[in-house]
Amino acid sequence: MTNEKKLELLAETMDLEAEDITADKVLSDIEEWDSVSAISFIAMLDDEFGKTISAGDLKRCKTVADLMEQMEE
């Protein structure tokens, strides 16, 4: 999957406009990245990549790029 498509999915997960999200953004700086978005992210990984992520792995994600790294089949 292209990085562009991944960013699109992440924007959807956080209900952001696609142009408001870039790989270098720090998650704690994104107002929309909260516990509810995290649940949506976990659901999206499952739907799109058939993958489950552990709470520990998710906690270690600090940037948008870290989330994108998890988005592999």
Partner: protein, 258 residues
């Protein structure tokens, strides 16, 4: 003169718009100045409704929730459809879910397929449409979502399990959606009519094969049968700024159901 129910320049999506309450709501909203997007099963009937709308720029899309949410759900279909509706950065100001089918079926014959069909049109579609509506790119803050429920959700009749359950599910879901969309001040409410003079009610009377159905239903309510226009007016109220303080409610324009 001030019109508190003015819908000028509001962009409203209405399902079930080919007949009954949906059709009446589309007409009434357009009369109040709204631009309307009609959705329904039957293209010809949608076209008929569209012809009755004053003003320009109304659109319609044929859509059958039975096939959409049946056994093979096309996940991306609705998001593509919303993409068309909101093309050119035009966001919606309201969504009224009038799509619904009645079903008279004793429990012993209520197969999971029949139950699923009614739940798909009456309830799953409401949730799936609402989910898409609530994406920021599709709707404005402060807008309004309405589900057409039924008095039967709280005053059930025998042999209508699927219908009753689908409407009760809607009543139960609305406060949850209201809480989740509060941050954007999007209001979410149900309207639960009693007996309304629609094609659906006429078909129902036929299914019951009961001459007294009309008469019995009339006696059930102080004002007797309601007209689709009576419900359309309550929809317009909930879509307008006049109802700013209403969310997570079930409004009951049932003529005093007893």
């Amino acid at each position: 003169m001030k019109n508190p129910m003015d819908l000028s320049n509001k962009y409203i999506l209405i399902t079930g718009a080919s007949s009954g309450i949906g059709k009446a709501t589309a007409i009434y909203c357009a009369e109040l100045g709204a631009k309307v997007v009609l959705m329904g099963r039957n293209t010809e009937k949608l076209l008929e409704t569209k012809k009755l709308l004053p003003g320009e720029d109304h659109q319609f899309f044929a859509m059958d929730f039975r096939t959409l949410l049946g056994n093979s759900v096309r996940r991306d279909y609705l998001s593509e459809l919303f993409g068309q509706i909101t093309a050119g950065d035009r966001k919606l100001d309201g969504f009224v879910h009038c799509a619904g089918i009645a079903s008279v079926m004793p429990l012993k014959s209520l197969t999971i397929e029949r139950l699923h069909e009614v739940m798909s049109v009456n309830f799953y579609s409401f949730i799936e449409m609402t989910r898409n509506y609530l994406k920021k790119k599709n709707s404005n803050d402060g807008s309004s979502i309405i589900g057409i429920s039924s008095v039967l959700a709280v005053r059930p009749r025998e042999y209508e399990l699927a219908y009753v359950a689908s409407k009760a599910a809607m009543d139960a879901a609305v406060p949850v959606i209201a809480m989740e969309s509060a941050k954007r001040r999007i209001r979410v409410n149900c309207i639960a009519p009693g007996s309304v003079n629609t094609e659906m009610a006429a078909n129902m009377a036929r299914e019951y094969k009961n001459q007294n159905f009309q008469e019995k239903q009339k006696k059930q309510s102080i004002f007797g049968w309601q007209q689709p226009e009576d419900i359309a007016k309550v929809c317009a109220f909930l879509l307008s700024d006049a109802s700013r303080a209403f969310t997570a409610q079930v409004l009951r324009p049932d003529g005093g159901y007893r």
